[in-house]
């Protein structure tokens, strides 16, 4: 890990990962969308609206995955004063916020025909909404200081504090009686979902993860380049 605290070395790693992430994202998203929109059966209860699920569920997973990565990278920032970990956390925040918004928006679109309402205040929906606010708070405090290093550290502490919400989201459907259905893929007794629906779901999940890595690579490189530009401008001035 400390080997990659050097931005140049880290950028070399990111450059190596980026084309792979881009390729995997494009292939799996194309295949996943084909399977989920065309080549999978409609649900016997939900009809065609079940196809929203293939966009919604992986987005919700990514929302939590991005937050966990952000909190993990923030912990590395604070503990080891790692120079690049915070760049990763900072670059992750808007991506995670977008996935969270996507999960909320698609869930709402699915909820209208299925539950008869755009929104209910059950534990799962509320905790995911709070996750969105945590992302927004992170981005706000990141930019609230004239000294960028201070913003980084304050945001890192906030990200770690907000991590308490992640297990609450995961277990909200078990702890409370929610309208949102409980877990049906990641379960101790194996997935309770038919393979014809699991295939597109897994493809989409892999595609989203690769997409995240791709955008992350772009954002990290842009962020490091911006720091270089800023340093050069300061030296020139």
């Amino acid at each position: 890990m400390h080997r990659f605290a050097n931005p140049t070395r880290f950028v070399a790693l990111v450059r190596a990962v980026q084309p792979w992430a881009a390729g995997i994202a494009l292939v799996t998203l194309a295949a996943g969308l084909w399977f989920s929109l065309i080549a999978s059966p409609a649900d016997y209860q939900q009809g065609e609206t079940v196809r929203i699920m293939y966009v919604h569920v992986p987005a919700a997973w990514m929302a939590m995955f991005c937050y966990s990565s952000m909190a993990g990278a923030s912990a590395v920032t604070l503990v080891w004063r790692h120079a690049v970990a915070h760049v990763v956390a900072r670059a992750t925040a808007p991506i995670g916020a977008s996935f969270t918004f996507l999960a909320l928006a698609t869930g709402s679109l699915w909820g209208k025909p299925m539950w008869g309402t755009w929104w209910v205040w059950d534990a799962r929906l509320t905790s995911v909404l709070i996750l969105l606010f945590l992302y927004l708070g992170y981005m706000a405090i990141e930019n609230a200081f004239d000294d960028r290093a201070r913003g980084s550290r304050a945001a890192a502490i906030l990200a770690i504090v907000g991590a308490v919400n992640v297990p609450i989201i995961k277990f909200s459907v078990d702890w409370w009686n929610t309208l949102h259905q409980p877990a049906s893929v990641v379960r101790l007794d194996g997935p309770a979902i038919h393979p014809s629906m699991l295939t597109p779901l897994v493809l989409m999940a892999v595609g989203y993860t690769a997409l995240y890595l791709w955008i992350l690579a772009l954002r990290v490189r842009a962020d490091i380049n911006m720091s270089k530009v800023r340093a050069l401008t300061l030296r020139g001035a």
């Binding site: 708070g137 200081f145 502490i157 906030l158």
Partner: protein, 221 residues
């Protein structure tokens, strides 16, 4: 322990000399509560239904209003740097500051809450649960708020930023605080909700001093 009580005593003395600060928070609490009957209409049934929630939301906002000042004046005049350098753990300083905030904000809010219950036509059975819930819930607010107050030191937009950081973290306290009153109004025991509030307060007591102290350290660095 001596330095802990000395810090609380200092903050209380400062609060007494600037009594208008605490009174402003209390007045804000009362005014926000009064706005609701004017906004949703004075019908007693509706007010009784939403009363507990209104008192809790007003208490949350009032507690937050005074929160950004928890460390701000110490940060501005350099006291904070001395506290960081002092031979007591910074986590204890945070606990003392949060306790002082609770004593100067939480306690007046609890004391004013029964009056708000009368204005909102709260059923008599609800008062006990409301007071207990506030007594168990407001310490969590002060403790969680300490983290936010420490994080925003020296930032460009303090108050608005603080609400964005802290209000999402207040949500569990709000949910169980209101649920306790609702339970007692429907003749169900409010005990589970009150126990959860107590658990939240204990968790906040154990966990929040660490990030708050970390935030203070990096603020004076």
């Amino acid at each position: 322990m001596n330095s802990f009580s000395a810090l609380i005593a200092r903050d209380l003395r400062l609060a007494c000399r600037q009594a208008s600060d605490s009174l402003t928070v209390l007045a804000f609490f009362i005014l926000v509560t009064v706005l609701f009957p004017l906004a949703v209409g004075p019908e007693p049934g509706i007010l009784a239904r939403i009363g507990a929630g209104v008192v809790w939301v007003a208490a949350l906002l009032a507690a937050m209003l005074s929160m950004d000042r928890m460390f701000q004046s110490d940060y501005d005049d350099g006291t904070l740097e001395l506290l960081v350098a002092a031979p007591i753990p910074l986590e204890i300083v945070v606990l003392a500051k949060a306790s002082a905030h609770w004593l100067t904000t939480g306690v007046p809010l609890i004391a004013a809450a029964p009056l708000m219950g009368v204005l909102l036509n709260l059923e008599p059975e609800g008062y006990g649960a409301l007071l207990l819930a506030l007594a168990l819930g407001t310490p969590s607010l002060s403790l969680i708020g300490a983290v936010g107050a420490a994080l925003i030191l020296g930032s460009r937009r303090g108050g608005a930023l603080l609400s964005l950081l802290i209000l999402p973290l207040f949500v569990p306290v709000l949910i169980f605080g209101v649920a306790a009153v609702e339970a007692s109004l429907t003749d169900v025991s409010a005990r589970p909700q009150l126990l959860i509030l107590a658990a939240l307060a204990l968790a906040a007591l154990a966990l929040t001093p660490w990030p708050a102290a970390a935030a203070l350290r990096q603020a004076v660095e």
